[in-house]
């Protein structure tokens, strides 16, 4: 059993280290700032509940685990009936509310990624934004490595980027 004070300190450390990237991942996935904040909170509440499982693991394993919880939380949100009523144009408004000095190119990339189908968006976020390997992504999404590779290729096509020498790790 981990004592309450250690749990609290560890959670604080996790929020400090991964809070921003988890919040941004949830926003990119859900396209709604308020929902993303809720999903980020849910993610850390779940991590807090199951902290016992991650005692003594290294930082990268913890990060992968928290990202996995975040992705699953976002999937749950997407599945909920309520989400189906969310106005998807809200993403653009929300983006403008906190984006101060982004180039038009950066905005285009972000919006293009946000408009990808969920399965493609997941792999792009994990591979590009969280710098995970394909094997790690396969573990996070419970799919096999080839599926990850296929989805990345499809995402490339949809984002209209040209892969440079098959940059797969």
């Amino acid at each position: 059993m981990i004592s309450d004070s250690i749990r609290a300190a560890r959670l604080e450390q996790w929020v400090e280290a991964y809070g921003n990237s988890i919040l941004r991942t949830c926003f990119l996935y859900l396209g709604d700032r308020a929902l993303a904040e809720d999903a980020m909170q849910d993610t850390f509440v779940k991590a807090w509940r199951n902290m016992e499982q991650f005692t003594g693991r290294n930082d990268s394993a913890v990060k992968t685990w928290i990202v996995r919880i975040a992705i699953n939380t976002c999937i749950d949100y997407k599945r909920s009936a309520w989400f189906k009523h969310v106005d998807c144009t809200k993403a653009v408004e929300d983006l403008q509310s906190f984006t101060q000095q982004a180039s038009a190119e950066a905005m285009d990339t972000t919006l293009a990624l946000m408009h990808l189908p969920p399965k493609l968006k997941q792999v792009v976020l994990l591979y590009y934004y969280h710098n995970m390997t394909m094997a790690e992504i396969a573990g996070v999404l419970s799919v096999n490595r080839l599926t990850v590779q296929r989805r990345l290729k499809k995402a490339y096509a949809e984002l209209q980027f040209v892969p440079e020498g098959g940059d797969f790790r």
Binding site: L23, W48, T109, S142
Partner: protein, 332 residues
């Protein structure tokens, strides 16, 4: 610059203003505090409507069960009587001898023995059986949990279950023998549904130390666990010295597990006790404090002790013993 850097740079540039604020952190801490108190102070919350629903359901169940028991064939009646004697929740495995779902990956057969849910939780019991000489070893299903180095003569197996809009799960226990591995996992769901449980089974074969992962998804019908037994407090317990009152105590046993909750107040505390750090604790017959949730397959405790303890000194200021009779906890 490579694609991945461009994408990351663009995303960082656009999302730079989206940060976890101190207010968000405070909200998170408050939520966790609420979550913690829910289990620490009240256990499982049961609303008034749910209580009424529970009472009515139990009454109907009892009437239906007694009518059914007498009309059933004698062998089944004997089985029911045996179950009542041992006071142990039957598991699906005891009731049926065939798996609820199965699949094959190479030389491995995957058998789903249990896929159960009650109001709050779900549980899956999956067995892997291998037909060659390789050794089976269970792991969480996540790559980073694989041991290093990997053994070529071992196949690593894992399960991830999804039910009721969630895959939040706890990897509870594993039983391994020479060519079989059973993995029992459980988790919380967000509401009972008619949808089957999805079990993502992962097998990792090893070739020259390198893992080759294969995944198969099994859809298993879910057995909805029924409520078997309840117990409540006969009348509120008053602790005259410290002014505490235990107003409600509920025990609920479904086929899946036992839940418990209580409500206590300290509003009539005399000043000298109100300023001390007192806590109401509930202990079983062995003097062990009840856990947040009693584990799968456990029974409703027949004896309880309710203590008022000074948490700073450990001193027990008051204590009342309770015994269970006909679903009611009464003062011994």
């Amino acid at each position: 610059m490579k694609e991945q850097n461009i994408i990351k740079v663009h995303l960082e540039e656009t999302l730079a203003g989206l940060e976890v604020t101190p207010a968000m952190q405070k909200n998170l801490i408050n939520r966790i505090a609420r979550e913690y108190n829910r289990y620490k102070v009240r256990g499982l919350r049961v609303s008034k409507h749910r209580k009424l629903g529970l009472v009515l359901t139990i009454a109907l169940l009892l009437i239906a069960a007694s009518a059914l028991a007498w009309s059933l064939a004698p062998s089944i009646r004997t089985w029911l009587e045996q179950r009542m004697d041992t006071n142990v929740a039957p598991t699906i495995q005891e009731i049926q001898a065939t798996p609820v779902a199965s699949a094959e990956i190479g030389d491995i057969t995957i058998l789903v023995w249990e896929a159960m849910a009650d109001e709050k939780n779900f549980l899956s019991n999956v067995e892997f059986v291998i037909r060659n000489d390789a050794k089976l070893v269970a792991y969480s299903g996540m790559k980073q949990d694989l041991p290093a180095p990997l053994d070529d003569s071992t196949v690593y197996v894992g399960v991830s279950s999804w039910y009721g809009n969630t895959d939040q799960e706890i990897f509870t226990s594993v039983q391994e023998s020479e060519n079989r591995v059973s993995i029992l996992s459980e988790g919380w769901h967000r509401g009972v549904t008619d949808e089957p449980m999805t079990l993502v089974c992962t097998t990792v074969f090893v070739e020259n130390g390198q893992p080759i992962t294969e995944t198969t998804t099994i859809s298993a019908p879910v057995y909805l666990a029924e409520t078997l037994e309840t117990a409540v407090l006969d009348e509120p317990l008053i602790f005259p010295l410290t002014g505490f009152e235990l107003t409600e105590l509920h025990m609920l046993r479904t086929e899946l597990r036992v839940y418990w909750s209580y409500t206590a107040t300290g509003k009539n505390q005399p000043f000298e006790y109100a300023i001390r750090n007192l806590e109401l604790r509930i202990l079983d017959a062995d003097g062990e404090q009840l856990p947040q949730k009693l584990s799968y397959g456990s029974t409703i405790p027949e004896r309880l002790e309710v203590r008022i303890v000074d948490t700073d000194t450990g001193e027990v200021l008051e204590s009342i013993q309770l015994t269970l009779e006909n679903g009611l906890y009464t003062v011994q």
